[in-house]
C-alpha cells in the first residue's frame, strides 16, 4: 500500500478546497438560510408539524443531505476530471499506485469537503430551529457514509465525462431531481399512494429517510433497509471503479 501517495493526493486536493475556503464556507450558509426563509418560514407556517416534528426541524436532515449529496458528487467528479482536462493525469498513471490508492486520495478528499459543508449546514440550521438529535453517532456515521458513497459516484462521473457539459449533466438532470423528489422537504407518507410506491425506487429516499431517523427516530423506510441501500450503492460504485481501472476505460489506452 502506497500510503504516501494517498496522503499526497489527499493533501493536494484539500489545498484546492482551502484556496477557496470562504466560498466553500459562505455559499452553503447563505443557501441554507434561504431554504429556511422559503421553506421554514413561508411554507412551514402552513404545515407546522410533520409526524410530531416541527416543519422547520423536519427539513434539516433533507437540507443537509441535499447539499452533502451535490457537494460530494461535484467535488469528486471535478477532482478527477480536472487532471484529465489539463493533462496532469499522466503523473497518476505513471506513478507506482493502484486504483484503490487513487480512489482513496480523491474520494477521501471529496468526502471530507462534503462532510465539512454538511456540518456547516447543521450548524447554520441550529441557529434557525430547535434541534435535538436522537442518535448523534448514527447521524454522523450516516453522513460519513453518504459522503463516501456519493463521492465514489462522483468519481465515476468525473472519469466518464468528456467535457464540462457532461460533468454537469448527471448532477443536474438526475441527481438534483432525485434529491428533491427524495423527500428532502416532505415525508413520503404525504404523497398519494401510487407515488409512494414510485418513490421507493428513488435511492435518495433511503438516504434521507435513514438520516432523518438518526435525528428524530422516525423514518419512511426501516433503518435497516436504508443501510442496505447505501451498502448496495457503495458496492456498485466500487465495482464500477474497479472495472474502470482494470479495463483502463477512458483513462488508460
Amino acid at each position: 500500500m502506497n500510503w504516501q501517495a494517498v496522503k499526497a493526493i489527499y493533501i493536494f486536493e484539500m489545498a484546492r478546497f482551502f484556496r477557496t475556503l470562504m466560498q466553500s464556507f459562505i455559499s452553503p450558509v447563505i443557501s441554507t438560510s434561504l431554504y429556511f426563509v422559503v421553506f421554514g418560514a413561508a411554507i412551514g407556517s402552513r404545515i407546522e408539524e410533520v409526524e410530531g416534528v416541527s416543519y422547520g426541524a423536519f427539513i434539516v436532515p433533507g437540507l443537509i443531505m441535499l447539499s452533502v449529496i451535490t457537494q460530494a458528487i461535484s467535488n469528486a467528479s471535478f477532482g478527477i476530471y480536472f487532471p484529465k482536462f489539463i493533462g496532469t493525469i499522466y503523473e497518476l498513471l505513471s506513478a507506482p499506485i493502484n486504483f484503490l490508492e487513487i480512489v482513496m486520495g480523491y474520494v477521501g478528499a471529496a468526502a471530507t469537503k462534503a462532510m465539512f459543508i454538511g456540518l456547516v449546514i447543521l450548524g447554520t440550521a441550529a441557529l434557525f430551529v430547535d434541534l435535538s438529535i436522537q442518535h448523534p453517532i448514527a447521524m454522523l456515521a450516516f453522513m460519513v457514509l453518504t459522503c463516501l458513497s456519493l463521492s465514489l459516484f462522483g468519481f465515476i462521473i468525473g472519469i466518464w465525462a468528456g467535457n464540462f457539459e457532461q460533468l454537469q449533466l448527471v448532477p443536474l438532470l438526475i441527481v438534483t431531481p432525485l434529491v428533491f423528489l427524495g423527500g428532502s422537504f416532505y415525508s413520503i407518507s404525504m404523497l398519494p399512494e401510487g407515488w409512494q410506491t414510485v418513490a421507493l425506487f428513488n435511492p435518495v429516499v433511503y438516504l434521507i429517510s435513514g438520516f432523518r431517523w438518526a435525528f428524530f427516530g422516525m423514518a419512511d423506510v426501516p433503518i435497516g433497509l436504508s443501510l442496505l441501500a447505501i451498502a448496495v450503492f457503495t458496492g456498485l460504485c466500487l465495482g464500477a471503479i474497479w472495472w474502470i481501472f482494470k479495463s483502463g476505460w477512458k483513462i488508460r489506452n
Binding site: 502506497n2 504516501q4 501517495a5 496522503k7 499526497a8 493526493i9 493533501i11 493536494f12 489545498a15 484546492r16 484556496r19 480536472f82 487532471p83 489539463i86 493533462g87 496532469t88 499522466y90 503523473e91 497518476l92 498513471l93 505513471s94 506513478a95 507506482p96 499506485i97 493502484n98 483502463g248 488508460r252 489506452n253
Partner: protein
C-alpha cells in the same frame, strides 16, 4: 553494462486499429543517454507512454530494473521519471506544492532538503511560492523536470524536452542531463533536433512508422554511415565537369566555381590522390580545399526516407 530497461517485441495497436508500435525490441543500458529520433507520429511518445504505464502494450513485455511494467508495476514505475512533451501542470498550485506532490505520489517520504536542492539546480527556487500559471513557458518546463526528479528516478524519460524552448534553456537542459548522467541516472530522450542527439547522446535510436530502424553508438553510427565530402574551389569557373573526371563522384557547385567530391572514409582508398592528379592533368587550378563530415541529420533523413522509397 546491464540493461536497465528491456523492451521485448512491444506492439501497440490503438482501439481505432492504428498500429503505433509494430514490434519494438530494445535494451537500454544502465547509465547511458539514449536519444530516440524520429519524425512526428513515428511512435516515440507511444513507446515512452507504454514504458511508463500511461498506455498498455497490446503485446510484448517491458521490464525496468528487471521488474515487469504490468505485473510488477509498482517496483518498475518507482524507478522511472517522466518529463512529458506537453506542459501539463495544475495552474493554480504553487511550484513547491506541485513538486512535493510528485514525490509523495511516488511513495517517497517527505524530503524538503532534496526538493530545495532540485529547485535551486533548476533556477526555480525564487519561484517556489509562485502559482504555476504565472510562470513563463520555459519555467513551466523546468517545473516538469523538477517533478520528475523529485522522486529520484533511476531512469528518466525526457519527451522532447527542448521543443520550443530558447537556446539558453536548451543549454541548461543539456547541462542538467549531463549532471544526471554523472549521478548514474539512465536518460532516454526523444527529440527531432538532431544536434541535440549529436551533442549529448551516447547512443542513438531512429524510430519511424512504429518501428525501430536502428540503434547504435552515436560515434560508431556517424563513422559507419559518415560520408565525407571534399569541396574543391577552383581558380577559374568551368561550365561542365571535364570528361576525364567522369569516373569520380563529382558535382558542380557555385556556378562552376567549385567541385564537390563525395567519398567514403571506410573505403580502402578515398580516391582523393587520384582525383587531384586527374585534375592537375586537366589543368584545373585549385584555390581552396575543404572537407566536411555528414551530420546525424543527413543520416537520419536518409534512414527515414529509405523504407518509404522501398515500399
Amino acid at each position: 553494462m546491464a540493461a536497465i530497461v528491456e523492451i521485448e517485441d512491444v506492439k501497440k495497436v490503438y482501439d481505432g486499429g492504428f498500429a503505433a508500435l509494430k514490434g519494438v525490441t530494445l535494451n537500454i543500458e544502465e547509465g547511458e543517454i539514449l536519444a530516440l529520433l524520429g519524425p512526428n507520429g513515428a511512435g516515440k511518445t507511444t513507446l515512452i507512454s507504454t514504458i511508463c504505464g500511461i498506455s498498455r502494450p497490446s503485446s510484448g513485455a517491458i521490464r525496468v530494473g528487471g521488474h515487469d511494467t504490468v505485473s510488477d508495476f509498482r517496483a518498475a514505475r518507482s524507478l522511472v521519471g517522466l518529463v512529458p512533451q506537453e506542459v501539463n501542470l495544475e495552474p493554480f498550485e504553487t511550484v513547491w506544492r506541485t513538486v512535493r506532490f510528485s514525490r509523495g505520489l511516488f511513495g517517497k517520504p517527505k524530503d524538503d532538503t532534496l526538493i530545495e536542492k532540485i529547485l535551486r539546480q533548476l533556477s526555480l527556487w525564487d519561484k517556489k511560492d509562485t502559482a504555476i500559471r504565472a510562470l513563463s513557458g520555459g519555467m513551466k518546463r523546468r517545473v516538469l523536470i523538477a517533478k520528475a526528479l523529485s522522486h529520484e528516478p533511476r531512469v528518466l524519460f525526457l519527451d522532447e524536452p527542448t521543443a520550443g524552448v530558447d537556446v539558453e534553456l536548451r543549454r541548461d537542459m543539456w547541462e542538467i542531463v549531463a549532471g544526471l548522467k554523472a549521478d548514474g541516472v539512465t536518460i532516454i530522450l526523444t527529440t527531432h533536433y538532431i544536434e541535440e542527439a549529436e551533442a549529448i547522446a551516447d547512443r542513438v535510436g531512429v524510430i519511424n512508422n512504429g518501428k525501430l530502424l536502428l540503434v547504435e553508438d552515436k560515434d560508431a553510427l556517424m563513422t559507419r554511415m559518415g560520408q565525407k565530402q571534399l569541396r574543391i574551389d577552383l581558380q577559374d569557373r568551368i561550365a561542365t565537369v571535364p570528361p576525364a573526371l567522369h569516373g569520380f563522384d563529382l558535382e558542380l557547385a557555385e556556378d562552376g566555381g567549385s567541385l564537390i567530391y563525395r567519398y567514403d572514409t571506410r573505403a580502402d582508398r578515398t580516391g582523393i590522390a587520384k582525383l587531384m592528379a586527374a585534375m592537375s592533368e586537366e589543368g584545373l587550378v585549385l584555390r581552396d580545399l575543404q572537407t566536411s563530415q555528414n551530420s546525424l541529420e543527413d543520416i537520419f533523413v536518409g534512414l527515414v526516407h529509405e523504407p518509404e522509397a522501398a515500399a
